[in-house]
């Protein structure tokens, strides 16, 4: 029962982070109107994080947590590494979108890894 509550909490928080990223990149975190590539990538990644979190709540399988963590890491690396962004530090993509992706992606990955470790410990205790 304790683990199920924990699963719900983790799933909700990670799902919320993913949704914030997906919706935010199209609104208040939007890079610029010139090139939609970065916005589309991060929106897709945010959506995937939310989906993996939802799946992880319904079917607490280790793969859901692993995929959430991977999606978080990829999100953090997307602006600048996977998708080119403007060189000037004063552009919106560098000042707002990239930091948001790094912060949300890193927190998502950290929470997903923690969720995975707790689930592993719980399984060892049951065995």
């Amino acid at each position: 029962m304790k683990m199920k509550k924990g699963t719900i909490w983790f799933g909700l928080v990670i799902g919320l982070l993913g949704l914030t990223l997906a919706v935010g990149t199209q609104t208040f975190l939007k890079p610029c109107t010139h090139d939609e590539t970065l916005a589309k990538w991060i929106t897709a990644e945010g959506g995937l994080i939310a989906v993996f979190a939802g799946v992880g709540m319904l079917q607490p399988h280790w793969a859901a947590q692993a995929l959430s963590a991977l999606a978080g890491i990829i999100t953090a690396l997307t602006p600048g590494t996977l998708v080119k962004i403007c060189a000037s530090e004063q552009m919106r993509c560098r000042m707002i979108t990239r930091p948001a992706a790094i912060v949300i992606g890193t927190i998502t990955a950290a929470l997903a890894i923690w969720w995975f470790i707790l689930k592993l410990k719980s399984r060892k205790r049951e065995q």
Partner: protein, 400 residues
């Protein structure tokens, strides 16, 4: 199970309680470290501005007042251009009390496309300059050649690359260190190169409002005052005797910036103190309440032979573990947020902002962890003291 592992096991077995305490402590450490980094960055930025201004007085054309706030030039790098005849510099040089004098010419580039920003180009006279060259000399041993430029730390062009200004390709020979001011977004060249750029701008039908030879104009004159004269006296003298110019004391710019900075720093410090006080009270209350709830648990431990001091030590160790764990999380979050969003913070504050070095940040983080651990332990101290005074028999008879 040993006595040493008991505090950790207690925390792990009550995840909800532990999570709540951890969040409180994380909030405490996040506000302390984040606020400290911001205040330190503001102070570094102000020192940097004081070091870089160099001159005692800056003289601008009177018409520049309507186009620019001098504070903004140094804080936000406002791009603009305004000119006066180089004869004005000669008139100013003739006034008493001037130890050194040098002119600079400004130009702003155009926005090339939607992914570019106009930048300020600053042309200085290598024969007389005393504000820019000492700074350039830190990065470039030889002087600037014809057409060569030096860029500020935030200009998106590296050494060996070129910047195109009004279709003139200018090779970048050095990149200056960060100052945390608008000077970081400027490009520096000699007045000869600037004359070429001004011609190129006019060839592109860019209206600069210069009549005559572009090589005979200046945008600003920088003055170092003779120590035997007062800066205010010399500035007033220039304002009275040289027409259509405005002499501004750089000290007044610095003190304006310093006042704004002190206001922001005070606000940040007040916020840190408020969060700290509130978190401490909440933590102390939480430990007190928990101590009350766990009376029977502690009574059983006493019956099993644990002494009163060891029981207090157990409670303190639990508090220390929660504080350390929450502290580390808070520090990690603060670093993640401040380091990622530092450009946005700088823009929002609109003040000189220079991030501390890695070593300084590491020391701040260590200090924050220490403060948080001490605070957490202090918050639990009263609760731990009460535990050591509790009568076991009464608790067990209560049947709570």
């Amino acid at each position: 199970m040993t006595i040493v592992k008991l505090p950790l096991r207690n925390l792990v077995r009550h995840p909800g309680r532990t999570a709540a305490l951890t969040v409180l402590v994380a909030l405490l450490s996040m506000s302390l470290l984040g606020g400290s980094i911001i205040v330190l960055s503001l102070n570094s930025g102000l020192s940097s501005l004081e070091n870089r201004l160099g001159a005692d007085i800056i003289v601008l054309p009177a018409s520049a007042k309507s186009k620019i706030n001098l504070d903004n030039l140094y804080l936000q790098g406002t791009t603009g251009y305004y000119y006066m005849s180089a004869e004005k510099q000669a008139q100013i040089a003739a006034r008493d009390g001037i130890a050194e004098i040098s002119g600079q010419v400004f130009l702003a580039t155009l926005r090339a496309d939607c992914c570019s920003l106009p930048i300020q180009v600053i042309g200085f006279d290598p024969e007389t300059d005393f504000t820019v060259q000492p700074w350039i000399a830190e990065r470039l041993k030889q002087g600037l050649g014809p057409g060569e430029v030096v860029v500020g730390s935030k200009v998106a062009a590296g050494v060996g690359e070129s910047v195109r200004i009004y279709l003139v390709s200018c090779p970048v020979v050095a990149r200056l260190g960060a100052t945390g001011t608008g000077l970081d977004t400027a490009v520096y060249c000699t007045t000869d190169t600037m004359a070429t750029l001004l011609d190129a701008a006019r060839a592109m039908n860019h209206e600069l409002k210069i009549s005559g030879d572009p090589a005979s104009v200046v945008s600003a004159v920088y003055i170092r005052v003779d120590p035997s004269y007062s800066v205010e006296q010399v500035a007033n003298d220039i304002n009275v005797h040289v027409r259509k110019v405005e002499a501004v004391r750089t000290r007044s710019v610095i003190s304006d910036v310093s006042s704004s900075l002190n206001g922001v720093a005070s606000t940040v410090k007040a916020l840190i103190l408020a969060v700290w006080t509130l978190s401490f009270i909440l933590l102390a209350s939480a430990f007190l309440l928990l101590g009350g709830e766990r009376k029977r648990e502690y009574a059983v431990l006493r019956v099993l032979g644990m002494s009163r001091p060891r029981l207090s030590a157990l409670a303190l160790r639990e508090a220390l573990l929660v504080s350390a764990f929450g502290g580390v999380i808070g520090i990690a979050l603060a670093l993640l947020l401040v380091l990622s969003f530092h450009s946005l913070i700088e823009k929002a504050l609109a003040l000189p902002f220079l991030m501390p070095t890695g070593t300084a940040i590491a020391l701040l983080a260590a200090g924050t962890l220490l403060c948080v651990c001490v605070s957490g332990s202090l918050a639990a101290a009263f609760s731990a003291h009460r535990l050591s005074r509790t009568d076991t028999g009464i608790i067990l008879r209560e049947g709570a």
